[in-house]
Symmetry: C2
Subunit: 299 residues, 2 copies
């Protein structure tokens, strides 16, 4: 099977698991002339035109709340991300979601790592176990509670996202429309939801489709996965086959769920459908739909 490498994957850095055991070494890397720094402000990233605006160690003179070690690049330069507290003069920052389509795949991967990790540090100044203050260690790979000494590891939330077809070899797939802005744009996508504690990926697929659409799903097949740094999901994409066709959707979660034919979704994927909008190629949902619609995978 071909491996699908999605936007926000393809990160080429050597994250330096072993290096991180020596805090002094990380500090020396950070002070070296080769070190390059990617500044963030309010989780927006520094840009120069439409590319990441890497800077040298002078950026550390700006007030900042966090510096994390991302890893070593292919030329052995140590790369860091910096969370600035005030905007430097004449520096532009871009939204990480809007920017991604302009970047090379490896750069989307670096951006995903940097944004997810900086955000995690911002959201975890306290220990959930004892309420104590936590500090960053190992170049930002973990935090440690200063009161109970607990190690706190970054959190990545697994999300099951699935395209369900109406029968074996079927010609229709199940898409849903949320509420609010998405509903007004007539934007339909794959169903999706967080994987619960004590369930497998396949069980999460079946539970979510049952809860959101009232459809029981039989066979489930893994397709690919996509890191999604808003804030830090791992989208795990699957295809599945429905056991029946009558939909009973949850109006709290969804404004509408329906079956769409292969020809309809092919037009929507090409941006050529008069009313139906579906996710663009940045999202794994697009590829779950496309690989089924164009016959790349058979279900």
């Amino acid at each position: 099977m071909t491996e699908h490498v999605h936007t926000y994957a393809g990160n080429p850095l050597e994250r330096g698991e072993a290096l991180r055991r020596d805090e002094d070494h990380i500090r020396r890397l950070q002070q070296s002339a080769e070190a390059r720094f990617l500044p963030f402000l309010n989780l927006k990233v520094a840009v120069n035109e439409t590319d990441l605006d890497w800077q040298d160690r002078k950026i550390l003179e700006q007030p900042n709340s966090q510096v994390i070690f991302l890893g070593m690049d292919e030329s052995e330069s140590p790369l860091f991300a910096v969370h600035l507290q005030t905007p430097p003069e004449n520096q532009e920052f871009a939204d990480c979601r809007l920017l991604a389509s302009q970047l090379s795949l490896p750069n989307t991967g670096i951006l995903a790592q940097a944004r997810a990790q900086l955000d995690w540090h911002q959201r975890n100044p306290f220990c959930a176990q004892c309420g104590g203050v936590t500090h960053s260690e190992r170049g930002g790979q973990i935090r440690r509670c200063q009161q109970c000494e607990k190690h706190i590891f970054p959190r990545t939330d697994g999300v099951a996202i699935m395209l369900i077809v109406d029968e074996v070899g079927g010609d229709r797939c199940l898409l849903g429309k949320g509420h609010g802005r998405m509903a007004r744009a007539n934007f339909y996508s794959c169903l999706a939801g967080f994987i619960d504690q004590g369930e497998s990926l396949e069980e999460a697929v079946r539970r979510e489709v049952w809860e959101e659409a009232g459809i029981r799903v039989g066979p489930v097949q893994y397709h690919s996965s996509q890191p999604w740094p808003f804030p830090s999901q791992l989208m795990i994409g699957c295809h599945g086959i429905a056991l029946h066709k009558d939909i009973n959707f949850d109006p709290v979660e969804m404004s509408h769920v329906d079956w769409f034919s292969r020809s309809e979704v092919n037009r929507a994927l090409a941006g050529d459908h008069p009313t139906l909008n579906v996710p663009g190629p940045m999202a794994i949902a697009h590829h779950l739909i496309r690989t089924w619609a164009d016959g790349e995978i058979e279900l």
Copy 2:
């Protein structure tokens, strides 16, 4: 492809996503005569001989620190788990890992959900964002900070676990031995590690094998997943193919990593190898090894 349903999966309960929106309804279910409760003490579960010891609402008279709603069983009875603070008289409790091999598959799934969720509540009395006190809501599905009102969702950590073979159609697989007790028992298993922020499943497989064994991996293929409630992992099992054979393992993480032939691991899986020990059928690692060794899957 056949779906592998592992120990700690197979949970048949309807978790009641929609029900949980009404806290009063959950309270009424908890007080009903049909409600059944699974007591835990220090994360050990109440047992009667070798089965789960479900009890009626009288158990709530015992001092407890947490009651969570697990869901509705097939006969529409609401099931709960209770975290007791003191041991009731004449009640036996068992370790959830040792007990699992005695239970039916559906019961291992219920046990996994209950243990992981109760443990998560015990470990999250405070808000990591503001340090405020958190309370359980939606029958234990979430906690909410009483200070900043943030919703806190249960955490499930994705772990990539992989069996790597030495070449396409190869006859040897890569297994590693940790330190301590496992090393003394000559216990070898699949390599594994937490999925980082900003990486796909396949990238996590390649990074872990590189970090732990110094082996570069080419194609990666998803196999199956297993919830592992110690404390709350989702083990995502893959097979992969090495790009070279020379090992350079990390002595901090591993005491030894080596290639093992199909005939050797087949003997070990059958418990018939004089020196080599491998995981038993409770663990996804066993099935990653077995499905390759017995030719069920081809790589």
